[in-house]
């Protein structure tokens, strides 16, 4: 009975956790600009969470550098399911101008399945809102799938 309510609420209240794995900070600025009065993502329920344990959507920016790879993997293990990964900008997808460097450890797709990618260098805040909104809908499908699997496991 509560399943539909929980699934509907999951799409309406996604909390964001942001990880910067060595980016130039351009995409980080656009992400926090999304929470300012002009673009206001809070009207869809988005909120910045302080710790990965409270997060629903993990937003990653920056090419994965050697120094941040271990921390990124450890943080991703701490996020409770169901969660979505959004890659912000072109750095996590391919390394952009940093590809081939001695300390860039390759695309994010190698470590975790990326659900939504927002291209742009840097993407416009409206594009970021679109990406986050799509991620929230994917989250709802994941929650429904999780609830269905639990039912099958119990029966």
């Amino acid at each position: 009975m509560f399943k539909k309510l929980i699934a509907a609420s999951t799409a309406k209240s996604p909390w964001i956790y942001h990880i910067n794995t060595g980016s130039c900070n351009g995409c980080d600025i656009e992400l926090v600009a999304v929470l300012t009065p002009r673009y206001d993502a809070e009207r869809f329920g988005f909120k910045l969470a302080g710790t990965p344990r409270h997060a629903d959507i993990v937003v990653v920016s920056g090419p994965i550098t050697s120094q941040s790879k271990a921390r990124l993997l450890r943080t991703l293990e701490q996020v409770p399911k169901p969660f979505c990964v959004v890659s912000l900008g072109s750095c996590p997808r391919s390394g952009n101008v940093f590809k081939g460097s001695y300390s860039v450890e390759g695309p994010l797709e190698k470590y975790v399945h990326v659900d939504v990618s927002v291209a742009g260098c840097t993407p416009k805040p409206e594009a970021v809102i679109e990406g986050l909104y799509t991620a929230a809908q994917i989250l709802k499908e994941k929650r429904k799938a999780m609830a269905g699997k639990k039912e099958v496991a119990e029966s």
Binding site: K12, P37, H54, P80, A147
Partner: protein, 320 residues
């Protein structure tokens, strides 16, 4: 037979009105109003009014991960203990003329019951086994000590004024006294106490500028850092319910003279007054100030706010 009906009545009071269901709906609605009005003050649209409900149900659907270093039983029980004590507290507070469990020593019981949610946060945080949580709980303890002193002085002042020679510790007795004379706040000697109570409410709820314990950007959410899923949902619910209970307590102590005959209408008027109080003492102060350091918070409560409450107590004691 009558014992059976009495048990049913008590269950109704604890679970429906003015117990769990009533505070659940009213508390989360107040939290929603707080967020929406804060957004409008900052010139943006803001989340819908039912946003805290969506947050709560979403958290019920998330997986709960308990860290290895945590104490599993305490981790789970802490939020529920806080919720239980808050539901019982609401039963003691009269909704204008209707009161579920009021008796002659209400205020003393409430003082003890209201410390339990804060202690539950402290215990839950220390059961998490994280150093950030350790910093958070030490700050929460200092916050508790700072606001308990003015709260007790305020309650003593009102009790003395209501009772005369023998202090009236019963909340329904205080409401009756207000209905027989005039509104509590209209007695001019109680005005400093009302001001002090308006300043105690944000600290007890844990909203800015007094939310040093749960500082999001500095210590990654303090005691709640390792919480996820349903226990986190219950902790957030506790915060929302506390908003409702503290503002209802203020209404009962200082604005309790109104009474229509019908209980439902009384409950609606109580909710409307609580919403107004929330906007005045919580949202407005949140919008215009920044977070205080813990030393400044302690100094503020033990000097200015306690002084206001003490002035009221002295005025009441010398008979004015």
């Amino acid at each position: 037979m009558t014992v059976f009906i009495q048990i049913l009545l008590i269950l109704f009071h604890v679970l429906v009105f003015p117990g769990f269901l009533f505070v659940f709906v009213c508390g989360l609605l107040l939290a929603g109003i707080d967020r929406k009005i804060l957004a409008r003050m900052q010139k943006r649209v803001g989340p819908p009014l039912l946003q805290p409900f969506y947050d709560f149900f979403k958290l019920m659907g998330k997986e709960t991960i308990i860290p290895d270093a945590a104490n599993k039983a305490v981790y789970r029980i802490a939020p529920i203990a806080g919720l239980a004590s808050l539901v019982v507290t609401m039963n003691f507070i009269p909704v204008f003329s209707f009161s579920a469990m009021s008796f002659s020593a209400d205020i003393i019981v409430i003082i003890y019951l209201l410390t339990i949610p804060a202690v539950a946060l402290i215990v839950g945080g220390s059961a998490s086994g994280s150093p950030f949580a350790g910093v958070g709980i030490s700050r929460e303890m200092v916050t508790m000590i700072s606001y308990e002193l003015p709260l007790i002085l305020i309650l003593l002042a009102v009790a003395k004024k209501a009772g005369g020679a023998e202090l009236c510790f019963s909340l329904s007795g205080i409401v009756e006294w207000q209905q027989s004379t005039y509104l509590g706040i209209a007695h001019w000697s109680l005005i400093p106490a009302a001001l002090a109570m308006l300043l105690v409410i944000p600290a007890e709820v844990g909203t800015q500028p007094f939310d040093t314990a749960e500082a999001e950007t500095e210590i990654c959410e303090g005691p709640l850092i390792e919480y996820s899923g349903a226990p986190l949902g219950v902790f957030k619910l506790n915060t929302a319910i506390k908003m409702f209970i503290m503002t209802s307590l203020f209404t009962c102590l200082f604005l309790g003279g109104i009474d229509t005959g019908i209980v439902a209408l009384n409950a609606l008027i109580l909710f409307a007054i609580d919403a107004g109080l929330t906007i005045l003492c919580m949202t407005f102060i949140h919008a215009v100030t920044a977070r205080l350091k813990i030393e400044h918070l302690f100094k503020f409560y033990w000097t200015i706010v306690s002084a206001l409450a003490l002035i009221s107590l002295i005025l009441v004691w010398i008979g004015l």
